[in-house]
């Protein structure tokens, strides 16, 4: 039982990271029907910005987190402006391939500047390394911070999308771009804003991973990016609460497979889930089956 609880704690911490990245995927997909493969790499850049803030500028956790989020926001919007905006009226496959290109560009561009090796975050001190032990169960402060930060950011996101004017614009654009434009909504800036928010969340995830696992490298975004994509599809791509739920479920499943099954099958199970969902329920857990309009 204790082992099970420990595994659940492990799963929720991991799932939080997936959830944060999955939100960016899902929002961008929801609004322009693009799977933004560069998203996982923005998460990686976030981790590096956090690293530089903490190592060279000697900033604390919160300022580093905020700077990383701001930097990733700018990066996300820039990628959108340079790579995706000129292709707004092209075929979806063209944009998708561009996204893969953007992803590779960020990965190897970063590798050029920071070298390929892993880097580790500076030693955490004080509150950040506190541990709580309940019998055999270990709960670290970093895990608590990850979950709390994730939940706070999600609440903030829900608030922005549901209660603010720009959120309303986002929802309108995702429903019907042309109609939204006719209603006087600035579609381009709304799309930029979506990228901005998604990228900020990815940046936050990057810093959280940095302090939790203490290891970053220029290709670290690929796998979590794919897993988060699975999470987004699992929850129903385009649906924000779906991405959160998907992230937590994928994280927990992964941990349980390693913990009770065979750790070799972990990734296989995650991607098998993706295939199953696409066959059985393509719209995802929370998605409604809508027939494509012709």
């Amino acid at each position: 039982m204790e082992q099970f609880l420990q595994q659940i704690i492990n799963g929720i911490s991991l799932g939080s990271i997936y959830a944060l990245i999955a939100l960016g995927y899902t929002m961008v997909y929801g609004i322009i029907k693009l799977i933004n493969f560069a998203h996982g790499d923005i998460y990686m850049v976030g981790a590096y910005v956090g690293y530089f803030c903490m190592t060279f500028l000697k900033l604390g956790f919160l300022p580093s987190l905020l700077i990383a989020m701001v930097f990733c926001t700018l990066l996300g919007v820039t990628v959108e402006k340079i790579a995706y905006k000129p292709l707004r009226d092209s075929t979806r496959i063209a944009v998708l391939i561009t996204a893969i290109g953007a992803s590779l560009f960020i990965e190897y561009g970063t590798m050029f500047f920071v070298k390929a090796g892993v880097r580790s975050y500076p030693d955490m001190t004080g509150l950040l390394v506190k541990q709580f032990r309940f019998g055999d169960i270990v709960l670290t402060m970093q895990q608590i911070i990850i979950v709390i930060t994730t939940v706070l950011l999600m609440i903030l996101l829900q608030f922005i999308v549901k209660k603010t004017k720009i959120g309303k614009a986002m929802r309108a654009v995702s429903m019907d771009k042309d109609a939204a434009r006719l209603m006087g909504i600035n579609v381009d800036s709304t799309i930029s804003f979506t990228f901005a928010i998604g990228s900020a969340l990815a940046g936050a995830a990057g810093v959280l991973v940095g302090i939790y696992y203490n290891s970053i490298n220029p290709l670290m975004g690929i796998m979590p990016g794919l897993k988060a994509f699975v999470a987004a599809v699992f929850g129903g791509i385009g649906i924000i609460p779906g991405a959160m739920i998907g992230g937590y479920i994928i994280g927990t499943i992964e941990v349980l497979v390693s913990g009770y099954g065979n750790s070799m099958y972990r990734d296989a199970v995650v991607f098998a889930i993706l295939i199953l969902i696409l066959i059985v329920r393509p719209a995802g857990l929370l998605g409604k089956n809508t027939r494509e309009k012709v």
């Binding site: 492990n10 090796g117 696992y213 290891s215 290709l219 497979v257 390693s258 913990g259 065979n262």
Partner: protein, 382 residues
């Protein structure tokens, strides 16, 4: 206008390309450097090349080989075996190098060997540790050399170390299932350990690039074992050790040369690195002048501590340069013959001779860590 410009550009680029190829110099010896400078294992390639460049710089400063300066022709194989073969061909047929250093990993290195045999240009690796690199069922591969010990040797030595020196009999293996290196080490550790009366309690696996090992650690925590063997590289091993110690597992942890990097202590944190032992090519604690001079020179040039790849790259370049120096004439075949004759070569990673299978015969060093620092070194093995 645009068209004119593009034609002009093509003409200029072609001229540059052609003139770039034809620039050979009689006072120069060209050595190819075929390494993983980008892609999945770029860090091994980049580290090896740092060592190589330091070695060649020293040789050139000391007057080169028989009065000729060495010129490195550096190419990137993108960590892909197919690309490694392509660039090896280019180095041998277009750049006309006399020998090729690298690649760093066994898979990519093996892919370049047929090209080497065809063009009669020796290839040498500092870190291709898989068992069948230089020799297979058809006998020794004539133009392939390596200067590191093999995976099976390391796995055997560590199993014997656990049984004989640490008196442990119940082991858990946590292996990187995505690398041949780790699988080779794990298999050999297991067979030697079981043959010596030990028991493997559990075998767990992870994949390169993983960062979360809590699930595996939580799973083994409830089992009865007294030693953990982790064949793998420091990127993941550092995190495994950190997470294991955080969860309260304090048994000895053993591993291979993949542990050796200053990054290990950064990743795991010094307090987690107690009771950790690993086999290695060299130790910075070694007081022999070759090792100490290398460490000093490396720190001066790169401003950081050298790791095993740096040391192996350095030795590899010196080893091949030594072969070229002793060669009767400057052809690939003569260099190959000279390399075969290498006896008691004094390198940073130990004094070694080349055996009939083109492997280096050398003793293994087992390093014990205390608070993240190298604390004990023992020479172990045959």
């Amino acid at each position: 206008m645009k068209r004119l410009l593009s034609i002009l550009l093509i003409v200029v680029m072609t001229t540059v390309l052609i003139s770039g190829c034809s620039g050979s110099n009689a006072n120069e010896i060209k050595i190819g450097v075929n390494y993983e400078l980008s892609g999945q294992v770029a860090t091994y390639g980049q580290s090896s090349v740092e060592g190589i460049e330091l070695a060649i710089e020293e040789i050139n400063k000391a007057g080169g080989i028989n009065g000729k300066q060495i010129k490195l022709v550096k190419v990137d194989n993108k960590s892909e075996p197919s690309e490694a073969t392509t660039v090896a061909t280019r180095l041998m047929t277009q750049d006309k190098v006399i020998a090729v250093l690298g690649p760093a990993t066994s898979g990519a290195f093996k892919a370049t060997i047929p090209v080497a045999i065809k063009n009669k240009v020796p290839v040498a690796s500092g870190s291709a540790t898989a068992d069948d690199v230089t020799v297979d069922a058809n006998g020794v591969k004539e133009y392939a050399f390596r200067i590191c010990f093999s995976d099976s040797y390391q796995g055997n030595v560590m199993a014997r170390y656990a049984l004989e020196k640490l008196s442990k009999t119940k082991a858990v293996i946590i292996a990187d299932s995505s690398s041949d290196y780790a699988k080779g080490l794990a298999a050999n550790f297991k067979s030697t350990f079981e043959a010596g009366g030990g028991k493997i309690v559990a075998e767990e696996a992870y994949i390169k690039g993983d960062t979360d090992f809590n699930a595996i650690i939580t799973k083994i925590k409830g089992m009865d074992f007294d030693v953990i063997f982790i064949p793998g590289y420091y990127e993941e091993v550092g995190l495994i050790i950190k997470q294991a110690r955080t969860q309260g597992i304090d048994v000895p942890i053993l591993g291979g040369d993949g542990f050796d990097s200053p990054k290990l202590v950064e990743l795991a944190g010094p307090e987690a690195l107690n009771n950790v032992y690993f086999s290695n090519h060299y130790s910075s604690l070694d007081e022999s002048p070759v090792v100490q001079d290398f460490i000093k020179a490396f720190k001066e040039k790169y401003n950081k501590e050298p790791d095993a790849f740096n040391a192996l790259g350095y030795d590899l370049a010196k080893f091949v340069a030594d072969g070229i120096k002793r060669a009767e004439k400057l052809t690939g075949e003569a260099v190959k013959n000279a390399l075969e004759q290498t006896r008691n070569f004094e390198g940073v990673t130990g004094t070694f001779s080349v055996d009939e299978n083109h492997n280096a015969e050398k003793a293994i060093v087992i390093i014990g860590l205390k608070d993240g620092q190298q604390d004990t070194i023992e020479r172990f093995g045959d």
